[in-house]
């Protein structure tokens, strides 16, 4: 149907409550080690000023962690990188607070909680924390949020010729929201995509196709069960492919009728997909 030119994969980041960091996630996916027994505490958003760091919602802490790690792996200054943020549900903790407070005492809504309730809160804090004036966007496409974000990020690379960090995250649902928007644990991922600079870089080729759910690549690794209950779990097959150094092709659902075929070239020994 339609395909984008190859883009380079310059940096990878992954953070889940039981797989805190790409190095651990990659090793668990490849069967080199088991997951840590205990859940990790949420990452600290060191990019933010101390007062904001403490008050930052989970979505912001998670998104800033993976965005920063991916830029580090890419050896890119975050201020020079455009960004695409995506989440299935946004901040379910704040949504629960807003709805519960509105039902009981609407005039007592906290102004800070309100401005943190916008879907672009993580993107906004990222731009503030990195002093970046480059454009960001914040999108949602329900269970297709991650695939939509990767496609938008790669499209920006192709159209603008600039590096783009693609960030996706979902957090634990809270209160009555949990009955209609179920999600467990924290899961955040990020990729820095950029115009290819040389032949040794690992690349990603994206193709949009019509197709059925039967063609979607299932998650197969030991990480699958750990992240299955998080709303962002559909991203995992791509990271399973990235964890191995061999070429791979993964099919993600992009909409009710469209598939996103992501073909990854082999990693070279110096490639950025290896832990640093």
């Amino acid at each position: 149907m339609s395909a984008l030119p190859n883009v380079a994969i310059e940096g990878i980041a992954f953070w889940h409550t039981r797989l805190p960091g790409w190095e651990i996630a990659r090793a668990v996916i490849c069967g080199e080690q088991g997951p840590p027994e205990a859940a990790a505490p949420r990452p600290t958003p060191n990019l933010l000023a101390p007062t904001e760091r403490r008050r930052a919602p989970d979505t912001v802490a998670l998104a800033l962690e993976v965005a920063a790690r991916a830029c580090e792996a890419a050896e890119r200054s975050p201020a020079q990188v455009q960004s695409v943020f995506a989440s299935t549900y946004g901040d379910l903790g704040i949504s629960d607070y807003m709805c519960a407070t509105l039902a009981a005492t609407p005039t007592l809504i906290s102004p800070t909680k309100f401005h943190n309730s916008v879907h672009n809160a993580a993107a906004g804090y990222w731009s503030i924390g990195t002093a970046s004036h480059t454009p960001y966007t914040a999108i949602s496409a329900y269970r297709y949020s991650f695939a939509s974000a990767v496609l938008e990020a790669a499209t920006q690379v192709v159209c603008d010729g600039q590096p783009v960090v693609c960030v996706a995250f979902d957090v634990e649902s809270k209160g009555p929201f949990g009955t209609v928007a179920p999600s467990r644990g924290l899961l955040g991922v990020a990729l820095v995509l950029a115009p290819p600079r040389n032949d040794s870089q690992r690349t990603l080729a994206l193709r949009v196709e019509q197709g059925s759910a039967a063609e979607i690549t299932p998650a197969r690794s030991r990480a699958a069960a750990l992240v299955a209950e998080n709303a962002l779990a559909p991203c995992l097959p791509l990271f399973e492919a990235l964890a191995h150094s061999t070429p791979a092709s993964v099919v993600l659902a992009l909409s009710d009728h469209c598939l996103l075929r992501a073909s990854i070239t082999a990693a070279r020994p110096s490639a950025s997909s290896l832990p640093r």
């Binding site: 984008l4 509105l102 609407p106 809504i109 916008v118 993107a123 906004g124 004036h133 690379v157 909409s255």
Partner: protein, 399 residues
């Protein structure tokens, strides 16, 4: 990798629905007659003392039964917008031309159908579950709107909801243009919908940004915003014979504060410069600007300084929030549509309700309407989280 060059797109159909009117003709009439859609706030169980831009009659207009899964005020307003000006028919014709899988849906909103979740929390069952009529997961997600629009228009391509607060439905033009430029779609339905809900009314109230009177953009004594609700849509196509042009756009971030604009308008200036650069236009060739002009103290001050500094005196600039209220995530498409109406009919709307312009305003910012044929116009959208977007539209030869 060489970058793909921007080429102007045609706006082959568009529509808008606000408190000031449903559809383009009613909107043009309200603009020409300077008839505001703002009314005293009567929304919800304990309304704040403010004015709102409420679209009348939505309470009595349930969605057609086949879309009961998406039932909520926000999608009702989306449907009101989609049937206005026969937009559904225009998309059906485009479906014939391009195929349902080649038309992308890129739609903006700030709060989607959070009003349905607020309603559920007011009517929880004793065991904490949602009431039975609201156990429909899709309406409790930010993508409720994009998903509904795709189904209602019977499209089979990709569908994305952009949620960057008040720049949402301006940024959709950029994302859709990139999809078309990269060959991933032949056409795109863009637009946005936001509806009145407790989250925004009480949220903006908590930030002390809500005016107890009719909003007065750029007035020296302005006291804050009025929240409005609206729907608007546009169909973008590359190969088409008619329609105004999307000539360019610029996007940027303030990197300053979550709910206050950068004091020097650094991000806004960058978005403006990028929009002018892609459109290959100089400030002197801009005849009309639909400003963000929310009537908040800070926004209007920063925006007025920027316009005074960069544009010649003959550029006509105004805010139309006095007609519609601030429609938040829908503001981008509402004001894009008003800009397109202004281009089509040569009616430049002034700034309603404003009595005495703030001295910071240059001669560009006008209170009174003017009739003037013109070719080149901009629309500004600036949002929470420092997200800025400027759109450039034109008639005639795109240059």
């Amino acid at each position: 990798m060489s970058t793909l060059k921007f080429r102007p797109l045609r706006v082959t159909a568009y529509t808008v629905c606000t408190a000031a009117g449903t559809g383009r003709a009613a909107t043009l009439r309200a603009l020409a007659e300077r008839h505001s859609g703002l009314t005293r706030n009567d929304f919800g169980p304990s309304p704040l003392a403010t004015w709102i831009g409420r679209v009348p009659g939505l309470e009595d207009e349930p969605l057609p039964a086949r879309w009961a899964e998406w039932e909520c005020r926000n999608n009702r307003l989306a449907w009101r917008g989609l049937v206005a000006d026969d937009f559904v028919a225009a998309v059906a014709a485009a479906r014939e031309r391009h195929g349902a899988e080649r038309i992308a849906v890129v739609i903006g909103t700030s709060t989607a159908s959070i009003g349905a979740s607020e309603d559920a929390y007011r009517r929880l069952e004793p065991d904490g579950r949602y009431p039975a009529d609201l156990r429909r997961p899709i309406v409790h997600t930010p993508h409720s709107l994009g998903d509904f629009v795709q189904h209602a228009l019977e499209l089979r391509g990709m569908a994305v909801t952009v949620a960057t607060a008040c720049s949402s439905s301006a940024k959709v033009f950029g994302q859709a243009e990139r999809l078309i430029r990269a060959g991933l779609a032949d056409a795109a339905v863009v637009g946005g919908v936001d509806t009145l809900c407790g989250s925004t009314l009480f949220g903006f109230n908590s930030l002390e940004l809500i005016a107890s009177e009719r909003c007065r953009p750029f007035d020296v004594a302005r006291r804050g915003i009025n929240i409005g609700e609206a729907a608007g849509f546009a169909l973008l196509e590359r190969a088409a014979e008619e329609g105004a042009w999307l000539l360019g756009y610029g996007e940027s971030s303030d990197a300053h504060h979550m709910s206050t604009p950068h004091p020097e308008g650094t991000g806004a200036r960058r978005a403006l410069q990028d929009a002018l650069a892609t459109a290959q236009l100089m400030p002197a060739s801009i005849e009309y600007i639909n400003l963000h002009g929310t009537a908040s103290s800070k926004n209007d001050e920063v925006e007025a300084r920027l316009v005074a500094e960069l544009f010649p005196a003959q550029t006509f600039a105004s805010s139309t929030k006095g007609w519609t209220g601030h429609t938040l995530g829908a503001a981008g498409i509402v004001e894009a549509a008003i800009t397109l109406i202004a281009l089509e009919h040569g009616l430049l709307p002034g700034t309603l309700n404003t009595e005495q312009l703030d001295p910071v305003c240059g001669p560009q910012i006008r209170r009174e309407n003017e009739q003037r044929r013109m070719q080149r116009a901009l629309s500004f959208s600036f949002g929470f989280g420092g997200s800025n977007c400027v759109l450039a539209f034109g008639r005639g030869d795109p240059g």
